[in-house]
């Protein structure tokens, strides 16, 4: 089993009812990569997956897998295997028959099928479950049967359509690790569709963030999180504090904007010029509470005053909901155990964040 690369050249998808699911897109997924497509429901990510798997023909452009154009090749003849959101296991077949179904379709003899199915079930840690029906397994086990069934046909590309969404949180976290592990062992290219940023960020080598049929950013999880390329990416992935204002100066890739809450400096990756309407994004965990001393000591270039409104205990950290004038600001701070009195409701605080942690972006028309 060796992964292959997937290329989308000028691919777009317009449904017969006129709905544009995917706008013209170029995308290259490297061989052996764990690639996630992240976006809200209806953003077109499943459409992309179905075009790669062959269930949909793109309206324009073409898909190539391993350098081979896939135009006119049906899903049963592509080197891909799809894991459905509801898994779509065959309930009337036993677990091993499910796993071996792809081999059966290729005319492999029964003994060889059984042997291969047992190997794959061992790979996904399901030894001894081969003769059960899928209905007798737990959700996580069924999940692994679906993975084994897809891997049985030795696909070059494994496509996963939100396969973990039906599982509970604990199991989901466990399965993330397992999927990542299986991907590493097999070297197959994984294309993983999800609306759960946690899944995308923890498992993926690279992530594409999609919105309304457009891929807004492709990059590593860190790049997506730390250097969002668009307001949508900034707000969809993780949480953000947002300050609206006008650019009053730019220098060395930084932009200074004037907001009702004060003047802030942030990274100006989008190349805004003076006078433009701008938004400044800063993540709640990058905003700090200055309990004593002033911000300059901490290197906090941007500072403002805010009043404590509410405090939620998450366990390892605290969510602080503050207000600067009529602008809400939220902070995530580590629960060091000595902030009880300091964060009482109504207390006034000086808060601040580093310029390097803030991103200035153009306001979308």
């Amino acid at each position: 089993m060796r992964g292959q690369d997937v290329r989308l050249d000028n691919v777009s998808m317009v449904y017969p009812n006129g709905f544009t699911a995917v706008q013209t897109t170029d995308l290259t997924i490297k061989a052996g990569e764990f690639f996630s497509i992240l976006g809200p429901s209806g953003c077109g990510k499943t459409t992309i997956l179905r075009m790669i798997s062959g269930f949909l023909d793109p309206t324009s452009g073409h898909v190539a897998i391993g350098g081979q154009p896939m135009t006119g090749i049906g899903p049963n003849r592509r080197p891909t295997a799809l894991i459905f959101q509801n898994l779509a296991l065959f309930p009337l077949m036993t677990v091993w028959e499910n796993v071996a179904f792809g081999l059966e379709a290729r005319g492999v003899a029964k003994a060889a099928r059984r042997k291969r199915a047992d190997e794959l079930l061992a790979l996904v840690a399901l030894e001894g479950q081969a003769d059960k029906k899928p209905g007798e397994l737990s959700g996580g086990q069924r999940q692994r049967v679906a993975v084994a069934r897809a891997l049985a046909v030795e696909p070059a590309v494994l496509l996963l359509d939100e396969p973990l969404s039906a599982l509970d949180l604990k199991l989901r976290q466990h399965m993330r690790a397992e999927l990542k592990d299986i991907q590493r062992k097999t070297g197959v290219t994984f294309i993983y569709i999800t609306h759960d940023q946690g899944e995308a960020l923890t498992m993926s080598d690279r992530v594409a963030v999609m919105n309304k049929g457009v891929i807004e950013q492709v990059g590593t999880g860190e790049a997506i999180y730390n250097e969002p390329a668009s307001p949508f990416v900034a707000t969809f992935v993780g949480e953000q504090n947002l300050f609206g204002g006008t650019v009053i100066g730019t220098v060395d890739g930084m932009a200074q904007i004037e907001t009702p809450q004060g003047m802030f400096l942030g990274i100006n990756r989008a190349g805004l010029v003076v006078g433009e309407r701008a938004q400044l994004f800063v993540r709640p965990e990058r905003v700090r509470l200055m309990v004593n001393g002033n911000g300059a000591e901490h290197g906090l270039g941007n500072q403002l005053d805010a009043a404590m409104e509410r405090r939620d205990l998450e366990g390892p950290f605290l969510n602080l909901f503050m207000r600067a004038g009529d602008q809400p600001v939220s902070l995530h701070i580590t629960n060091t155990g000595d902030l009880g009195s300091a964060t009482a409701q109504g207390s006034q605080h000086r808060i601040g964040f580093r310029s390097e942690d803030a991103v200035v972006m153009r306001v979308d028309a």
Binding site: P75, L92, R149
Partner: protein, 400 residues
Amino acid sequence: MRDLVRTFGTGLTTVIIGLVALWFLALILLPQVSMVQRAFTVEDRAGRSALLAVEIERLYVRQFEISRERDALQKSAEPAPAEAPSPFAPSMNAAPAAPSPSDPFAPSMRRPGAAVEAADPQVVAAKLAELEAEAAAVTAKIAELEAQETRSDALDTRLSLENFTSMSSIHAKIFVSTLGYALMVTVLALIVCYPVAYAVATAKTAERAALLMLLLVVPYAINELLRIFAWVLILEKQGLINSVLAMLGFIDLSAGEGVRFVASNWAVFTVMIYAYVLFMVFPIYNTIETLDKNQIEAARDLGASNWRIHTRVVIPHAKPGIAVGSIMTFMLSAGSIAVPEIVGRGMHPDWFSQVIYRRFFETNAWNQGAAYSLALLAACLVFIMAVMTFFKVGIRDIAK
């Protein structure tokens, strides 16, 4: 029960339960019991009661002959026409056989001997007296025998398997072949209906599914007999198919070419499949509808051919629906009388349903008709059980 009372109140519940009981008793239990009872009862019409009937018949004929002879004698003795009161008591047994007195052929039946002897009044008087005596004896005998006939013990009624065991070899052959025909219809209907049901169940849009369903249901807005007759119009020698073939120049109808499609089992099969298409399509459609369509896509994605997708994924899932559809189609076609009667008119051998019909309404052998019906019912049930066992479908699967 308590739920019913709570939902509908005592009054309505009583009505509902009463109606259900009535339905069960009058439309299910009593007819079945009556049929079973008749099937195992022999009314031996070929025995003593039949002999009685023949004897009575013979006496009526003799009575008629006497009256004719007497008339002839009287006519030859005196020219004035004697009053001849009809000797006939209205009787079912005698009337059809004997010609009526006003029969134009009656004079030719006059015996030559009677005319010769007419000359001597003495001889005529003696002969007349003799005839009168015989007539009285015959009338008395008729009364006696008719009294015997109406007595219930004259009917030789007894419990027996004779109605079944006396089935002629031709009827037995028809019985077996009818089961074979019904199986044939069922298999053909399944082959025709499965793709239709699949197409409707997997239609891309709801509108298309509704349209397909409508096309299936519309023919059922027409009376069943008309639908069958419509097929006769299509399949007859001067029918639609041959007309179209003639129009296209393949055959010459005026030269007597063309196939007479009706009066063949294939025509009967075709019409039956058409008549029972919905009974097969609906159950299969219902089960395929409940199949997670992702399973079909998953199978295709794993490289399965269409054939394998159907044999491994769709058909196993649709098995209960296929079983229900097949059972209904089998029962309906095994018991159908209208289709073989109308489409198969003139065809030999008949279907068993036609044999049963004739037992009842032509041969007047109700008991054997009941026995034949029971035999057909039993054979169908055994057949269904066998098929369900073979395909490993349980009653509970079907109930789903």
